[in-house]
């Protein structure tokens, strides 16, 4: 089997002492940040991105992937113990996880979440290994119109499938696209929207934008409305074993969650958050005792936790094979790859197989490490929750500033970060969620270039997008998605799906 050969290459690359170490540091830092209140995976990745600059690309990506699912993992721990989701994809875990904890089954809930996630992570890894090569073979036949249509579909789905106001989210994507165009136009050499500032000639730097919009605005949000202090429920390591009844309820839910999450993760616009919500809804629907949900249903923990982890894994597939990030977290990963000098896409698998397969293998290793380090260290993570915010936020701020300084020593970069912090603050006050903006920002130049090329090939005839079968299908799907939001029945369903919180 070719898949296993590939995986062997991957495990060889990821299994080096150095890479194992960075994987370990990554999951550890990720969990640490995930446990801390108010820092989701996007700011976590942004804040820790600079640490990886000095590493070689594979180690850097392994560490970043580790941070990502570490953060997710940490988020479920706080959901269960404190009823405080560390990030959006563990919001649903709060509902039943915390109820289980209140009933004295905190340890069991944590163990079910951990083992369910690990199982999902394993399946997710196999998914990537199996679907990566055929998808990237298809991707190599993609031409400019296909890519343009794919990005359009991805952006539309990202807006439709995320929760929040659709129109505002579309505007955020568009503003992101516009910001992505700032700088020198590669075709004419003219500078666009630089307002005569030389620091913008090469485009808006990624890190000041992300840190300003997410890292620092989050601090301001917490300072303005301090979250109420909550007492974590105490757990000891020996309480971790779920009883037989719980295991019987958990494992089918985890399997369903894994399947659902794996599929939703691949979809453009899908990802961990959607997967968790969808799995919760599914479990509630097929359960024989739906009334039990909300008061500590085991399935309500096992399903969503497996689903969000599976989706977190498989959402790497579009990024690694098509070069298109399917959600804002993947946009940050893509930004990191570009900073490392790698253009994500179908070519990565053939030109750098060690990189591709090494990363895939490291995901499984990282998941294993998470189970091993997290469960025994629960006590330590809980104690972390008592670090007062008054000490935490200045340190986060300093990390952001150092991060920006290490990409460029220009004082202008700090000015840029301040500009985006003010912009992010305005967005916060106006109820606009900035995550879709990052997606647009990363895709802006790519979309323009593919649109231009498509129209050059067709001599200006927009029908080119409908004549090619691939792009035609993608555009039809995009139109269907738009119709779905306009169609009131579906809109109600979508609101229901995200209403569990």
């Amino acid at each position: 089997m070719e898949v296993f050969e590939h995986l062997a290459t991957g495990f060889l690359a990821a299994g080096s002492l150095q890479n194992l170490m960075f994987c370990f540091i990554g999951v550890l830092l990720g969990t640490l940040i995930g446990v801390l209140p108010g820092i989701g995976p996007i700011p976590a990745l942004a804040i820790l991105l600079p640490i990886t600059f000095g590493l070689d690309p594979l180690s850097a990506l392994i560490m970043l992937a580790g941070i990502y699912y570490g953060a997710q993992y940490g988020g479920s721990t706080t959901s269960i113990l404190v009823n405080m989701p560390g990030e959006a994809s563990s919001v649903v875990t709060c509902i039943d996880g915390h109820q289980m904890a209140k009933r004295g089954r905190a340890g069991a809930a944590l163990a079910i979440a951990a083992v369910g996630s690990f199982f999902a992570g394993t399946i997710g890894t196999i998914f990537i290994a199996a679907f990566g090569p055929p998808l990237s073979a298809i991707a190599q036949q993609f031409t400019s119109p296909d890519y343009f249509a794919l990005m359009l579909l991805g952006l539309i789905m990202a807006v439709v499938l995320a929760h929040g106001a659709v129109l505002k989210a579309i505007a955020m994507v568009l503003i992101g696209l516009l910001l992505g165009l700032v700088g020198t136009d590669i075709n004419t050499g003219l500078t666009r929207y630089t307002f005569g500032i030389s620091g913008l000639w090469e485009g808006i730097e990624f890190l000041p934008l992300v840190l300003g919009l997410f890292g620092i605005v989050e601090i301001i949000r917490n300072l303005e409305n301090p979250p109420p202090p909550r007492e974590p429920i105490n757990t000891k390591f020996r309480d971790l074993m779920p009883n037989r009844q719980e295991i019987r309820e958990a494992y089918p839910a985890a399997i369903r969650g894994t399947g659902l999450g794996s599929i939703l993760g691949i979809l453009p616009g899908g990802g961990a958050v959607l997967a968790a919500f969808a799995s919760y809804t599914l479990e509630k629907k097929i359960s024989r005792k739906p009334a039990k949900f909300g008061s500590g249903a085991v399935e309500g923990v096992a399903g969503p936790e497996a689903a969000n982890n599976a989706a977190a894994q498989t959402s790497f597939i579009p990024l690694l094979t098509l070069g298109i990030p399917s959600n804002p977290v993947m946009a940050i990963m893509m930004g990191a790859m570009i900073i490392q000098g790698i253009q994500p896409g179908a070519a990565v698998m053939t030109t750098r197989p060690d990189l591709f397969w090494g990363m895939v293998a490291s995901m499984w290793i990282g998941n294993l490490m998470l189970v091993i380090i997290n469960l025994p260290l629960i006590g330590m993570w809980v104690r972390l929750l008592s670090v007062p915010y008054r000490l935490l936020y200045p340190a986060i701020l300093l990390f952001c500033a150092i991060g920006v300084y290490s990409t460029s020593t220009e004082p202008f970069m700090m000015v840029l970060m301040i500009v985006f912090l003010i912009f992010g603050y305005i967005l916060l006050k106006l109820g606009c969620e900035p995550a879709p903006l990052v997606l647009g920002f990363i895709l802006g130049p790519l979309m323009e270039e593919n649109l231009r090329r498509s129209l050059v090939i067709s001599r200006g005839d927009p029908m080119v997008f409908l004549e090619r079968p691939i792009s035609a299908c993608l555009l039809v799907a995009a139109v269907l998605m738009i119709m779905l939001i306009i169609f009131p029945q579906f809109r109600k369903k979508r609101e229901e799906a995200f209403q569990e919180e």
């Binding site: 505007a171 307002f195 701020l397 912090l421 003010i422 305005i426 109820g431 323009e448 050059v456």
Partner: protein, 149 residues
């Protein structure tokens, strides 16, 4: 008499219209070109037009549909955080990372409303600066001045 039913959405709509308008006005000297050969102004102009369109819809809807009010703006947190970042950014190349980091943490501490324990803050700032030097300068070997010499 038209009244704003959803201040948050109305503000967002106005913001979008403003951004789109700035984009179109400042991008006026960029050649639009034609579909056959897109100029540098082609794609941005389309995007700005779409942003304005959505801005109009969002603002228009805000006149009809009830929505949340805009939360009060608190100047203290954002002001001190900006000052802290600016101080760090302009001082680091002159006095080195240790002093600029300590200064940043002390300034940032004043962003919250409660009384600041200056001794605790200074000790914490010094310890954090020490760790930053350890991680970024020694472990990661980032080019960064530690002191002013």
């Amino acid at each position: 008499m038209i009244s704003i039913k959803s201040p948050q959405d109305f503000g967002a709509g106005v913001l979008f219209i403003l951004i789109g308008a700035i984009g179109i006005l400042t991008g006026q000297d960029l050649a639009f070109g034609s579909a056959r050969s897109m100029g540098p102004g082609f794609f941005p102009t389309i995007i700005c037009a779409l942003i304005i369109l959505i801005g109009l819809i969002v603002a228009g809807k805000a006149l009809v549909v009830e929505g949340p009010a805009i939360e009060r703006i608190q100047f203290r947190p954002i002001f001190f955080l900006i000052v802290a970042i600016a101080a760090f950014g302009f001082l680091i190349s002159k006095v080195g990372v240790v002093i600029s980091a300590i200064l940043m943490i002390v300034l940032a501490a004043y962003a919250r409303r409660e009384k600041v324990n200056i001794l605790e803050t200074l000790i914490f700032a010094a310890a954090t600066a020490f760790f930053i030097v350890l991680i970024f300068v020694y472990a990661l070997e980032q080019p960064m001045p530690v002191w002013w010499w």
